[in-house]
């Protein structure tokens, strides 16, 4: 693991106010949003001496948009992160106020958890975790520039005049790089959440030659909780017992239920001291006392308000140039692009227990304040709603992710990693996953160890990163299950098995979880083998279980196993044919990912490649043959030529025939 210049002192846990001297770090993480928090935590937990630089501490893991974690495909990312030792799953579980499972009828591959979080508790818990993490120093400052020597990062320069020296830097500035807030025809620089934008970094990146472009996103107004008439809305409750993302909380919850029925109070207290001790890290018993959401709909008047004032919207008035998110459309977009739809859902979602604000999901917009007020008041139940914070659109810079290797290290500057929204993504989960992987690889890089890269056949994280670095983005990138070719093997229920070896490589998950996964895997295999062998009326039990609607408990003979093990047995048997086929496909593709393209390959001298292919390959510079084959417009014959050329080169180098 990375050695630190001076041994980690007790000082590490304390925020350093304007240090007068330079510190040495293995990894400096710039920005403490969802990407930065994960990057800093994993890097520090891996043993790298890590600094996390952010301006106001209250912005750690802030949720400037919808305070929810998970959802279809995003939930998969959270499960994978939890299996690898990320924080997002635990953080959501401990601070969740409503828990749901989506897509339950569509089979296990696309099933997803979604948690509505208390946004203040969420941020506070992450702050507490960061404070308590060894090897991690929180620095309150602003970064104004990168220090670079011979195409290698050497640290960062801060506004307070310091130069922090480090082996690696992870940039996770979110939407802050040259961010600009728009409300109607009014606009001003800002990074969202009432904080100034980070412009010098943007200029610095541009100077270094990074390809950059602008994206746009937005958020709805916030409404005072008590100013809504909920009787006109449909109530939606979470599910009990709460479904959790994290192994840690699931473990406690399992014991809780067991103990509960046992009724032995003393033992329960002993086991549940964590939950029972109210702290920032565990503000309440996870999953307890859930809050409802409410559903209402826009009316024809709502649509008329938008139509009549379209020219005054930032988006339609021509004030915004960035590309927006199609799957999180602003309300103006919904009205203009789908004129046949005369009503849209609006979900009133809690922002937390302490706050008196709610989040009206579905009416993000960039209209002037007076129009926003009319819009809100035209919705049933919100006739007299009080708007506390106004909706806004935000434009920001992102760095073309094809500038990055699959490790998220930039191709231009060694040791400089990018994570989160700067890579062109949207969503806390996507940001967390990118931040985590950037943190892992920065820590490995600082320690002189090889990159950790997941392929498309083993993780949604792998699919996302490969999409980003191979195909780039034209609009903010969000995870969808349809982006994964092999959905039947990339399920959330098997994330811990898929991620097992990688979790061991990173080495930050609870050893107890590792042991349990190993034990479960054996139990699953043994039981499936038994079901193959044991017959009922001449038919192997495995075949009976494979039938529609059959459950493990229907089997004439069964073993006492954990619920999670039984679930795995059922899924693996029911989808066996498809799972095997996808595993074969994944292996086939993987072989191509292992043919490495030399960094210095000159595509222009390669005979036979089409001009356009040379151009795009020179721009993206794929790291291996598999990645090259996934670039849009590259033909199989290009790949064949490339492959032969690489082999020719290799043999010439080796001097063999």
């Amino acid at each position: 693991m990375p050695s630190s210049a001076d041994s980690a002192s007790a000082n590490d846990k304390v925020s350093v106010p304007f240090p007068a001297m330079n510190f040495n770090y293995d990894v400096i993480v710039v920005g403490a949003g969802h990407a930065g928090s994960e990057a800093a935590l994993v890097s520090a937990r891996m043993g790298a001496k890590t600094a996390l630089v952010t301006i106001p501490e209250s912005h750690i893991a802030a949720m400037p948009c919808n305070p929810s974690v998970g959802g279809i495909a995003k939930s998969h990312l959270v499960f994978e992160l939890d299996a690898l030792g990320g924080e997002i799953g635990r953080n959501a579980d401990y601070t969740g106020v409503q828990f749901r499972v989506l897509n339950t009828s569509r089979g296990p591959a696309v099933q997803a958890n979604r948690v509505q979080c208390d946004k203040k508790a969420y941020s506070r818990r992450m702050q507490a975790i960061i404070h308590d993490t060894k090897n991690l120093t929180l620095i309150r400052d602003e970064i104004v520039g990168l220090s670079i020597r011979k195409d290698r990062i050497t640290g960062v320069r801060t506004k307070s005049g310091n130069e922090l020296i480090s082996k690696c830097v992870v940039l996770t500035p979110g939407t802050f790089v040259r961010g600009r807030i728009h409300v109607g025809d009014w606009s001003e620089p800002g990074g969202g959440n009432h904080t100034p934008s980070a412009d010098p970094i943007g200029a610095d990146l541009e100077k270094l030659g990074f390809r950059m472009a602008r994206l746009k996103t937005g958020t709805p107004p916030r409404i005072k909780k008590d100013s809504i008439d909920y009787s006109k809305m449909e109530r939606q409750d979470g599910i009990v017992p709460a479904p959790f993302f994290s192994w840690e909380v699931r473990k406690h919850a399992g014991m809780f239920h067991m103990e509960h029925s046992d009724g032995d109070q003393s033992q329960k207290d002993a086991l549940f001291h964590v939950e029972q001790c109210i702290s920032d890290k565990s503000p309440w018993i996870p999953g307890s006392d859930q809050m409802p959401c409410y559903l209402t709909r826009t009316t024809e008047r709502t649509h008329a308000v938008v139509h009549d004032n379209l020219k005054r919207s930032s988006l339609y008035g021509g004030f915004i140039t960035g590309t927006g998110v199609r799957y999180c459309p602003s309300f103006e977009d919904k009205v203009v692009k789908f004129p046949d739809k005369t009503s849209h859902h609006v979900f009133i979602e809690p922002e937390g227990r302490e706050t008196d604000l709610v989040y009206p999901n579905g009416i993000s917009n960039s209209l002037p304040r007076d129009v926003q007020a009319d819009l809100v008041h035209s919705i049933p139940g919100m006739e007299t709603a009080e708007i506390v914070e106004w909706a806004y659109a935000i434009e920001y810079d992102f760095v073309d992710p094809t500038e990055l290797k699959a490790s998220l290290e930039s191709k231009r500057i060694e040791g400089l990693f990018f994570g989160g929204q700067i890579n062109g993504t949207t969503g806390y989960e996507e940001a967390a996953a990118l931040g985590f992987m950037a943190g892992v690889n920065a820590a490995f890089n600082a320690a002189g160890k090889p990159d950790l890269i997941f392929d498309r056949g083993e993780a949604y994280i792998g699919v996302m990163i490969d999409d980003l670095v191979t195909r780039g983005v034209k609009e903010p990138y969000r995870m969808f299950t349809s982006r994964a070719e092999r959905r039947l093997i990339l399920r959330q229920d098997n994330a811990r098995y898929r991620m097992f070896e990688h979790a061991r490589t990173i080495g930050v998950v609870d050893p107890e979880m590792i042991k349990q996964t190993e034990r479960y895997e054996i139990e699953i295999d043994d039981e499936i083998a038994r079901l193959h062998k044991v017959r009922e009326g001449g038919v192997p039990l495995r075949n009976i279980l494979a039938g529609p609607l059959k459950k493990y408990s229907d089997m004439p003979s069964h073993v006492v196993l954990d619920k999670e093990v039984i679930e795995q047995i059922e899924i693996r048997i029911k989808y066996d044919g498809y799972i095997q086929q996808e595993l074969r496909e994944a292996r086939r593709v993987r072989a191509m990912d292992h043919v490495i393209i030399p960094d210095d390959l000159d595509y222009w001298v390669l005979n036979g490649l089409k001009h356009e292919s040379k151009e795009v390959l020179s721009k993206i510079r794929p790291q291996n043959i598999g990645q090259a084959s996934r670039i849009s417009g590259i033909r199989p014959s290009d790949i064949a030529l490339l492959h032969v050329h690489i082999e020719q080169r290799r043999r010439m180098k080796e001097g063999t025939r």
């Binding site: 897509n103 799957y327 859902h345 993000s364 349809s482 982006r483 086939r588 005979n607 014959s637 032969v644």
Partner: protein, 454 residues
């Protein structure tokens, strides 16, 4: 040796044309397993053979187990093949039909069609070919893919290209429906999204099937339909050839057995190019020359797209001959000639399509010509429409299989992901034909169809 590739590839290794044999080469880790699936021998299972051996047997269709062709199977092992991978070669009868059938069987059994120059590429990467030859390898890849591209462009003009584009768009739209149902919550989607999903699937399946069928027609147009005139001696076969050609090409005499060798001529009938073969009358004969002629006739008959079986309609039916005719049912048209001499055979005795003619009198000719084009299935054809390459055909037929699997799987919500996967694969395959990228297009299709996202 040669373990770097996980998949097994196949292609027709011989040049197209009328060679005596065609070779289908299969290379990769599953080559022998595939041979086990498609090859039948009384005793021997291919995978038990050592390298460097060959056996004679039959290729069967992996699905229906029907015989496809008689072949010689060659087995290469332990790095002794061209690619240095496990390889099997099937030597089958010449001509495209036979070779294609074997190739189809091999692909159905799990091989994939080789990319341009892929065998040579593997040979190089597996160390079989010298470094000096690397440039030549790249030239081969380059040349083959250029030729394929040119072919594809030529073949995809006009209506066919439009039709495949439309099919792709429909398939993409259906895929978008399914993907939207997976990636978004039900309450975000219009209720109508589930309407008619089965019908849409069926519709795409039907059109794929039609397109696949046009491939056969397309081949007839490109290469000419092989129409063979057959029958007993002295029933008017050569007269039929001369009549269809409009010129006295074959010698016609009242002596049975006049035609000894095969006469091949081309003509265009209703816009359909036809390669017409006149053959020696089928009979047991002591004459050595005539015997060879009869053998050749049988050979050509076996490979015909259409057999014009000429009979003397004034004579009673010969049961032996009738058996022979029925063995070719489906692509056999019986011509009851010499109608001017009276009626012996009744149509109802035959149970195969027939036309009554008197070639010497010139009656029944128009009906005959119409029947020929109709039986070939090309009568309604517009020539631009139906020409697709073997590769495109393969893509279409795999796409068709995907859709058929989707239909069979059913559209219950439990199997939703699986059906979605099949439709996505299908759309991807059709997209490949017209150079559209499914992963580039899918989300556009989703977001142009639905107002989703909060």
């Amino acid at each position: 040796m040669g373990t770097m590739y996980k998949d097994t590839i196949a292609a027709i290794a011989t040049a197209p044309g009328n060679a005596g044999i065609a070779i289908i080469r299969v290379s990769g880790p599953d080559a022998l397993h595939i041979a086990d699936v498609v090859f039948r021998h009384r005793k021997i299972v291919p995978s038990t053979l050592p390298g460097g051996r060959f056996i004679h047997g039959t290729v069967v269709s992996p699905g229906t187990q029907t015989d496809l062709d008689e072949v010689i199977l060659l087995v290469y092992r332990d790095g002794h093949s061209y690619t240095r991978e496990d390889t099997v070669e099937f030597q089958c009868h010449g001509g495209r039909i036979s070779a294609r059938r074997v190739l189809n069987a091999v692909v159905d059994a799990g091989a994939r069609l080789a990319d341009p120059g892929e065998f040579t590429k593997r040979a190089f990467l597996n160390g079989r070919i010298d470094l000096v030859q690397a440039e030549a390898v790249m030239d081969i890849i380059q040349a083959q893919s250029d030729r394929m591209a040119n072919l594809a462009v030529e073949q995809l003009e006009g209506r066919l290209s439009n039709e495949i584009s439309n099919l792709y768009d429909d398939c993409l739209a259906l895929s978008a429906d399914f993907e939207a149902m997976l990636d978004f919550e039900v309450d975000e989607l219009p209720e109508s999204i589930r309407d008619g999903v089965e019908i849409k699937l069926q519709f795409i399946g039907d059109r794929l099937q039609e397109l696949e069928a046009t491939w056969n027609e397309g081949r007839l147009l490109r290469e000419g339909a092989r129409v063979v005139i057959a029958g007993r001696p002295n029933v008017g076969k050569s007269t039929l050839l001369n009549t269809l050609l409009g010129v006295p090409r074959a010698i016609v005499t009242p002596t049975p057995g006049t035609t000894r060798d095969i006469i091949e001529e081309t003509l265009v009938l209703d816009g359909v190019p036809i390669r017409l073969y006149d053959t020696a009358g089928l009979r047991e004969t002591g004459c050595e020359v005539e015997k060879i002629g009869v053998d050749r006739a049988r050979n050509v008959i076996d490979r015909a797209d259409l057999i014009l079986w000429v009979m003397d309609g004034s004579q009673p039916v010969d049961q032996e001959e009738l058996k022979l005719i029925k063995s070719h049912a489906g692509h056999c048209l019986v011509i009851l000639n010499k109608s001017d001499l009276g009626t012996g055979i009744q149509e109802k005795d035959l149970n195969v399509p027939s036309i009554r003619t008197s070639l010497t009198q010139g009656t029944g000719l128009d009906a005959l010509k119409t029947a020929i084009t109709e039986t070939l299935g090309v009568s309604h054809l517009d020539t631009l429409h139906a020409a697709i390459s073997e590769r495109h055909h393969k893509l279409l037929s795999i796409a068709l299989k995907e859709i058929q699997t989707a239909i069979r799987t059913g559209t219950s919500s439990e199997s939703h992901v699986i059906v979605a996967q099949h439709i996505a694969t299908c759309a991807g395959l059709i997209g490949q034909i017209i150079g559209r990228n499914y992963s580039d297009n899918l989300l556009d299709a989703v977001f142009s169809r639905f107002c989703i996202g909060k």
